[in-house]
């Protein structure tokens, strides 16, 4: 039995997305605090604290430099947490998926709902940081900073898709610690959230070149600093590739897990 045929698309995924949205609405208070306030505090703390020691990074204030990185970091974290912990809970613990699959929906519909829901939730995290940037007047160009929004959607899709691969193979919540420790944390440290990638040893710069968070930051940071990113097509293509391959793998692995 081949589980790895290409994922199917159907608009029937929308009621599942709406279900997740309704749950989120009920729990919005704590969710907003965790997903939005936390990265904001880090950004302001480091921005003011370290920013007073580091006057300029790449021609901008450290706060501005960090704020651009934080958009990507926060979007990534939010999407990852959603599809890992909440997704696993819906799939394995609460058996929500099982109930949905008895209705006229397929596992591919459920996966598409998870992918788009993870991206939707992380969009909110990204926009929240962007709002702080606007409030502090850190952006150099209003118009360019608005272009961050579609990029954040793409970043959310990428990390939702990657996270779903983990959810597909996870036996328990504990398993996700591997992903955070071995994938997410090194990526945050390698890809230029807190400092420019160019300050790293060359070998690490080469590794960073392949990681999706680098491409996300290479798109978002110039937009905040007020210039059009270079090599837009290459960065977008890299993120789309990570999204497509991860999603295909996640759907295949999840089919193998559930539909047997």
């Amino acid at each position: 039995m081949n589980y790895f045929t290409h994922p199917q698309f159907s608009w029937r995924f929308i009621p599942v997305w709406r279900r997740n949205f309704l749950v989120w609405k009920k729990l919005a208070g704590s969710s907003i605090l965790g997903n939005l306030a936390d990265p904001m505090f880090y950004m302001l703390g480091f921005g003011y604290g370290l920013g007073s020691l580091i006057p300029q990074v790449g021609g901008a204030s450290y706060m501005t430099f960090l704020a651009a990185g934080t958009i990507c970091y926060s979007t990534m974290n939010s999407a990852t947490f959603e599809v890992l912990y909440s997704g696993f809970s819906r799939m394995h613990v609460q058996k929500t998926w099982e109930a949905i699959l008895n209705a006229p929906l397929t596992l591919d519909d459920v996966m598409l709902a998870e992918l788009t829901w993870g991206a939707s939730k992380s969009l909110l995290s990204g926009i929240a940081i962007l709002a702080v940037i606007w409030a502090l007047g850190l952006q150099q160009s209003w118009l360019l900073s608005l272009w961050v929004i579609p990029v954040v959607i793409l970043i959310g899709l990428t990390f939702s898709a990657m996270g779903l691969v983990m959810t597909a193979v996870s036996p328990s919540y504990d398993f996700f610690m591997y992903y955070f420790t071995l994938v997410i944390t090194p990526m945050v440290l390698l890809c230029g959230v807190f400092y420019p990638v160019e300050r790293m040893p060359e070998i690490l710069q080469t590794v960073a070149l392949f990681l999706p968070l680098s491409h996300a930051i290479d798109l978002v940071r110039p937009l905040i600093l007020g210039h059009i990113p270079s090599a837009i097509f290459a960065h977008v293509a890299a993120l789309l590739t990570w999204t497509g391959v991860s999603y295909w793998l996640a759907v295949g692995l999840t089919r193998r897990r559930i539909l047997k």
Binding site: M1, R18, N102, P104, K260
Partner: protein
């Protein structure tokens, strides 16, 4: 007219043949039971019928849809009660019905117009806004049954609908199912409770090791397979009694643990004889579906 038609259905997991050449015909408006010990292939069969598991071999047609290609279309007209409750704990009772109805592509207006009747059916009218975690096991089951009706299905599939319920709650579920049968719904259920099958089912099959080993109407099956009277005899000396008298009084007899099941056509003489046996206690009862089940599937434990 067949609502479910299954031919040559087979499924293997590794070397384990879970379902081996199953044929089923279920007519519109009947209640059909799928019986069998643990591991007989019941749940796998249901999953294949719903298009959630692909069979290795075989054809399934449900409500005139070919499940291999049109499971989604078939499921639009089927209601499913799963073995384990999987209600949405984040929502209230009424919200659970609304959210589930949306999965069928129904508009909120249509679902909201159906919710009062569904709550009434489940006896949960006063609980519309209650949290799922505050419901008893029986209430959850009733809500799960009501949820399966949100799309006004022609066919309702229930996987062990009363497992884990107390007798009162079980009777309420049976009452609900009988109401659905009267409304002309077709019901397919799996169960371990022979009493449940005997009360509700017009027809049934007993599965074992993935094959049908008996089928028919429960009363016909009992009449055809089992002597009309059963005397259950208990006591420490029951084995000795069986050796000395078993063949004389019983058409057939079997010992399980310290109970002897004696199957007879006429038990008057046996009862008189047993009255004089101080060391033995006994119960006389008519034969039932459980006797048929045990005759076909044996008495040894299946998960040992």
């Amino acid at each position: 007219m067949s609502i479910i038609k299954v031919r040559h259905l087979a499924k293997k997991y590794g070397d384990n043949e879970v379902v081996r050449g199953l044929d089923l015909d279920i007519q519109r408006g009947e209640c059909f039971g799928l019986l069998g010990p643990n591991g007989a292939g019941k749940t796998t069969t249901l999953k294949m019928l719903l298009g959630l598991v692909r069979p290795d071999v075989g054809e399934i047609r449900i409500l005139d849809e070919d499940i291999a290609s049109h499971a989604r279309e078939a499921r639009l007209r089927i209601g499913v009660v799963p073995q384990m409750d999987n209600l949405d704990p984040d929502f209230s009772v009424a919200e659970n019905l609304l959210i589930y109805g949306r999965y069928f592509g129904l508009s909120d207006a249509v679902i909201n117009s159906r919710i009062p009747a569904l709550l009434e059916f489940a006896g949960l009218t006063s609980k519309a806004d209650a949290k799922i975690t505050s419901l008893s096991g029986g209430m959850k089951r009733r809500l799960t049954l009501a949820r399966a009706l949100v799309n006004d299905p022609e066919l309702i599939v229930l996987d062990e609908p009363t497992t884990g319920l107390d007798p009162q709650a079980r009777h309420v579920i049976w009452q609900g199912l009988r109401r659905l049968i009267h409304q002309g719904k077709t019901i397919l259920l799996t169960t371990h409770f022979m009493e449940e099958a005997e009360r509700l089912c017009d027809n049934l099959v007993i599965l074992d090791h993935g094959k049908v080993i008996a089928k028919g109407n429960p009363r016909d099956l009992i009449a055809a397979e089992i002597e009309p009277n059963v005397v259950e005899i208990y006591g420490e000396t029951v084995e000795d009694w069986a050796q000395q008298h078993g063949a004389q009084w019983c058409a057939r007899h079997e010992i399980t643990g310290e109970t002897l099941f004696c199957y007879t056509h006429d038990c008057i003489g046996l009862i008189e004889h047993l009255r004089e046996q101080q060391a033995l206690r006994y119960v006389q009862r008519p034969s039932n579906l459980e006797d048929v089940f045990l005759k076909f599937t044996g008495r040894e434990l299946r998960d040992a």
